[in-house]
Amino acid sequence: MKYICLAYYDSETFASAPEADQQEMMDRCCEYDDQLRANGNFKGGEALQPPETATTLRYSNGRIVITDGPFAETKEQLGGILILEARDLNHAIEIISKHPGTKIGPWEVRPAADLSEIVRQSEVRRRAEKN
């Protein structure tokens, strides 16, 4: 099964840490990700630039409103996502518990939704619209 793992961190605390510590953390994270790749558990993922680089789009009063910054103003911000292939939720939990990134913030592990049936039903509806 696929699990989407969302890694949160406190960007201010991280940015104020000595550069050597930041690099050490990045090295350990990359090393662990490589290990996950070698085992076939890493199905994709990216680190995100800091939250101040975010642009939020919101549909409001019939148009899109664009604002600077992240959607939610909280201390802990999304720092990266990892798409994980694991046998079940406990396996995903075991893999993520060993991720060095857990030392700098909480991770949220959620199963990917299987939308194939919803997509199929939608296709049926859209075909009917055309006819």
């Binding site: 085992n39 076939g40 046998r87 079940d88 939720l89 406990n90 396996h91 075991e94």
Partner: protein, 414 residues
């Protein structure tokens, strides 16, 4: 010997997992001496198989291949930790230098027993024992276990994580208990197997009367235990589960309603299960060291042997309940005996026993007491008392098919 191109390796590996995970894990725990390390190693071995089997072809002995791969993965993983903790170097070296023989890579009879006894250790709560056993011994996923228990996957996942942490922190020894400890510990294991079976068979809450997968897993687990430890009560429990299971389709109508034993279509019973069940009961009884599971199985066997409901040997059933009661006094057994006595001597004799039970303050909130009283009053023509008792039973059960069953009985009374 490459697999054909259409061969779906993932489906094949899932099947291998379900059939072999318990054996592979238990052997790896023996070889590595650590539950969590063994589980990681097994997962990595299955990952390796997913990548290598399509190219290299299926190994002749998939289980030995997976165990061997898991062992090497564990050595790798310990080596990676060495950088953080030099103490691991020695463990890795020892493992690497003591290359196991082919025999050691094979399962030893005790491996899976140790795993079962560890998962059912009394230090863990029964719901944790059940979840852990289903995942580690039966190879079910967290999500499948959650579905079977009508729970959420995060809830079950945390239960399993905490149970494993407890096994590690309390240093629960990975072994089959011996001597004086064995009977009690085996009793705890059998209780979990029977709990799983009943949860699947009577589904204590929710819309569906039976959840087949749990009962099937319980029987599979029971058969594994029987193969490894052919004790009389293990034999009796497997017989009991098979004899109940033989009536699974007959006890629910096409409309999803509960059908009582006396009204079941006996032609739709599973006579393969009945034959196996009866043979096991006889084997257990012959040891003369049997216990409550065997006696309950013997009662189920008497029912199974009756070609028609009217031909049931109630005299023998009453005698078996009396034996069960002397071995394991319990109000529920008393209730069952009262129903059997009513069949042997008439409804009034049964009512006397049930009313005595209630007068002693036993089982007042147990819906089946009221259901049994209602039925006996109905047979005596006491409509008002029957109506009152059916209403009490209906209010006390959480199972929707059972609630509908009592509603139907109430309508019939007018």
């Amino acid at each position: 010997m490459c697999a054909p191109p259409s061969f779906d390796i993932r489906t094949h590996l899932d099947a291998v997992y379900r059939a072999e995970a318990g054996r592979i894990l238990s052997t790896l725990v023996r070889l590595l001496g650590d539950f969590n390390l063994a589980e990681d190693a097994m997962q990595e071995a299955f990952n390796a198989a997913l990548h290598r089997w399509p190219a290299e072809g299926l190994p002749a002995k998939p289980r030995a291949w997976l165990i061997s791969a898991g062992r090497f993965k564990a050595i790798d993983s310990i080596r990676r930790r060495v950088r953080l903790d030099a103490a691991h170097q020695q463990i890795a070296d020892e493992l690497n230098n003591s290359l196991p023989t082919t025999d050691q890579l094979d399962e030893l009879p005790d491996d899976r027993l140790k795993l079962i006894f560890t998962c059912c250790h009394p230090i863990l709560a029964p719901d944790a024992q059940a979840a852990l056993t289903l995942r580690e011994v039966c190879g079910l996923t967290t999500e499948e276990i959650a579905h079977a228990f009508l729970s959420s996957a995060p809830t079950i996942a945390q239960r399993i994580v905490r149970a494993k942490a407890k096994i590690r922190d309390e240093r629960i020894p990975y072994q089959v208990p011996s001597g004086a400890e064995l009977p009690e510990r085996l009793g705890a294991v059998l209780a979990i197997v029977y709990l799983l079976f009943n949860e699947g068979y009577s589904a204590s809450s929710g819309p569906s009367l039976t959840r087949v997968e749990l009962s099937t897993e319980a029987i599979r687990l029971g058969r594994i235990l029987l193969e490894l430890m052919p004790e009389p009560e293990v034999t009796g429990l497997v017989a009991l589960m098979l004899l109940h299971e033989s009536r699974r389709t007959a006890r629910v109508s096409q409309e999803g309603e509960l059908v009582l034993l006396e009204h079941q279509d006996r032609a739709s019973w599973n006579y393969d299960h009945i034959r196996d069940g009866i043979a096991l009961v006889e084997r257990a009884l012959a040891t003369r060291r049997f216990g409550p599971y065997t006696l309950q199985a013997a009662i189920a066997a008497v029912h199974a042997e009756a070609p028609r409901s009217e031909a049931t040997d109630w005299k023998q059933i009453c005698a078996l309940y009396a034996a069960l009661l002397s071995m394991q006094p319990s109000p529920v057994v008393e209730l069952n005996r009262a129903v059997a006595v009513a069949m042997r001597d008439g409804p009034t004799a049964g009512l006397v026993l049930i009313d005595d039970l209630i007068a002693r303050g036993e089982l007042q909130d147990y819906y089946l007491v009221h259901a049994a009283r209602a039925d006996l009053h109905r047979r005596l023509g006491n409509k008002d008392q029957a109506r009152l008792a059916y209403t009490q039973a209906q209010a006390l059960t959480k199972s929707e098919p059972e609630q509908r069953y009592f509603a139907t009985r109430l309508r019939e009374l007018g």
